[in-house]
Symmetry: C2
Subunit: 382 residues, 2 copies
């Protein structure tokens, strides 16, 4: 048989300025590219395994997990395949089908899927709605009180630390206190924060924390982090009855290959960049202020933004699309001419983007490019 | 904080002749190293995703999955994180806690863990025991009959196509017929076969098939293949109620990163090498015959071997260990001096190894090296 042509290249996304928020935090530093080269082949991290991935001495996965635990202030760390697999494992270990989990109204679809795959009911804490979409500890307390009054038990409280729609940074400590006061375990989804901003699991009363290596930790996907406090270790890291050393929720072992080598190589880089998170936020605020100089552009979500993922309403760009011969594609095409990619093709009414990791000059160039495009079509927009 | 030194290099295993069976089938061809470079960063295969990984047009994951389906003769294919995650997903989708699965006595620990994590009971079909450890369709039929007589229902029949202890190739078609006759769905674990030897899922009455990219398909881990026949697609590939396009057992998507790019790049190479499987088996038989010229060395499992993974009893090498100043480590060290690695340090009584993918000259050199070591210590062995 003959294979189709799969177009296995990514030059466009690698060589242009990519504003896709999904891709900004996963770019590998050079040392992780080197690790990828070393550990390219198959089960490359398993050469010195004596039965447990998390205890492999060479490369020192055990040492890395200790460092990670310190980095996010949690007792135990395992790698999983991603944030969603971490959430699934926690729910699978501590909930029974039919149980109820409480999640924020901005939760990622993968939180819903992890619950649904486990047969759980989802109750949502509503956000404040348009335009801020804010999630608050008070909202959690109210919803919990209502459920309590209805006699409904809650098995797990889940909070999206930073959501993927608005980049709102929630008050994890506040929600942690509410959950703690109610005696319900608390799972914090840090897919958009761990590796970008500081995470203080213990300080925030977090029982379980998940992160996403490919999303925010400069690692090759798929890989995620699952952090567990001591109190829950026996349950979440339960061993197999038959194969004594193997952890059941990990199916023995998880990241048996290159992605963990890239995450290990990236950890020093992550420690460093998390220290400079303020600079990233400042850069994004500058970007927002420049973008908002363009007619009608407005950042949605909590303001001023506290994260690099920003969502803009762009009615002016949309009005151009109506009259442009290339319709909605003009924006993508004009940006691409300027070596900017990552805004979805055809999207003009609103978009999400991020300038995380770009230099001040690049951010200036990007904002200027949008302004230039707006100017160019000033006549046909309204 | 400061990170420990993780010793992120794999030079020893990359640059020497590595006999570890776990590593032989996962070595990347050059085109897959190139793909790894292209798709190093984070969520690199998600740039053109419209909601479903398996439908991504660029790189053409959809085209690749069609080709894979053809390669293993199955209706639907998804990538999963590995063979174990594929087995877990199948059991999760079609069994209820408390159900019984029938597995062979040579099953991999991950089959047990997949069942245990799903709360299933395991009934085993015994092998013929030492020295062949053969698994037969008759054994499956007998065990099923016994269970039937006891009024015990079986929800799933699982067979390890090639086991990881003896490299025995089982009669998948025969077991498929037994399962089919009994009206029980049949899951074939091809972790050690898919990507090495031909797989004919439909021809063998297989309902579900799993493969391991990092083990036998020249891919960077973690990645696996899950094949499903049409009849079961609705159950295994069930969509979320809330997020209509997302597949529940996949948690939306699985291999969102570099490993799938390496597997895609490797498929033409796999098609090619599977065609030459006979040559590999011949090479291994030659290797076994050379090894068995060494005093007391004997291949265990079905003979002549039908797979590259072979297990040797090596009492002579063990008798040397008793008297050697370096004890059991001498064998590892003598081999390493000859640029051969992959036999566990300290192991001399028996070992598993594979010469898969080595040239005839290399195989000759490896066998000759073992003979040379035996000769060197002829005096102190018995
Ligand atoms: C808030 C949030 N959580 C979870 C995820 C999923 O992360 P992963 O791919 O690691 O499962 C995402 C990814 O988009 C996200 O934005
Ligand atoms: C027979 C068999 N099945 C399954 C596995 C596990 O494969 P994976 O790592 O893809 O889950 C192995 C790996 O050693 C194996 O030998």
């Amino acid at each position: 048989m003959k294979c189709q042509n799969y177009s296995l290249n990514r030059q466009t996304e690698r060589e242009n300025l990519n504003l896709n928020p999904l891709q900004r935090g996963g770019v590998l530093p050079p040392e992780s590219r080197q690790a990828l080269y070393e550990f390219s082949d198959g089960y490359s991290v398993c050469d010195y395994c004596a039965g447990r991935l998390d205890q492999v001495p060479r490369p020192s996965i055990s040492g890395f997990l200790e460092d990670m635990a310190c980095f996010i202030n949690v007792d135990h760390v395992r790698t999983v395949h991603g944030a969603r697999e971490g959430k699934f494992a926690v729910m699978h270990a501590i909930c029974q089908p039919g149980d109820t989990v409480l999640v924020d109204g901005n939760a990622h679809y993968t939180s819903h899927l992890a619950a649904e795959r486990n047969g759980l009911n989802i109750v949502e804490v509503p956000s404040s709605g348009y335009p801020e979409h804010r999630i608050s500890p008070e909202g959690y307390r109210e919803t919990l009180d209502e459920l309590y009054d209805m006699g409904e038990e809650v098995s797990l409280v889940l909070l999206t630390h930073v959501d993927g729609d608005y980049g709102n940074v929630t008050d994890a400590r506040g929600v942690g206190k509410v959950a703690h006061d109610a005696g319900i375990p608390f799972l914090l989804n840090c897919a958009y924060s761990m590796g970008r901003m500081p995470i203080d699991s213990k300080g925030w009363n977090v029982d379980f924390v998940v992160g996403s290596g490919h999303k925010s930790m400069a690692a090759s996907g798929p890989i995620g982090i699952l952090g567990v406090q001591d109190e829950w270790a026996d349950l979440i890291l339960k061993r197999s009855n038959r194969h004594e050393v193997k952890e059941l929720e990990m199916l023995g072992c998880t990241t048996r290959g290159a992605p963990i080598a890239t995450l290990m190589a990236s950890l020093p880089h992550l420690i460093d960049r998390v220290d400079k998170w303020d600079v990233e936020v400042e850069k994004t605020r500058y970007f927002v202020s420049e973008m908002e100089k363009i007619s009608g552009v407005r950042q949605i979500g909590v303001r001023p933004t506290e994260h690099d993922l920003v969502r803009f309403e762009t009615p002016f760009f949309h009005s151009i699309a109506d009259k442009h011969p290339r319709k909605g594609f003009y924006l993508y095409e004009e940006l691409k001419k300027r070596n900017i990619v990552g805004i979805k093709r055809g999207q003009t009414q609103w978009f999400k983007c991020s300038v995380y990791g770009f230099s001040q000059e690049q951010v200036h160039y990007i904002a200027h490019s949008f302004a230039e495009i707006a100017d160019k079509y000033r006549e046909i927009g309204d």
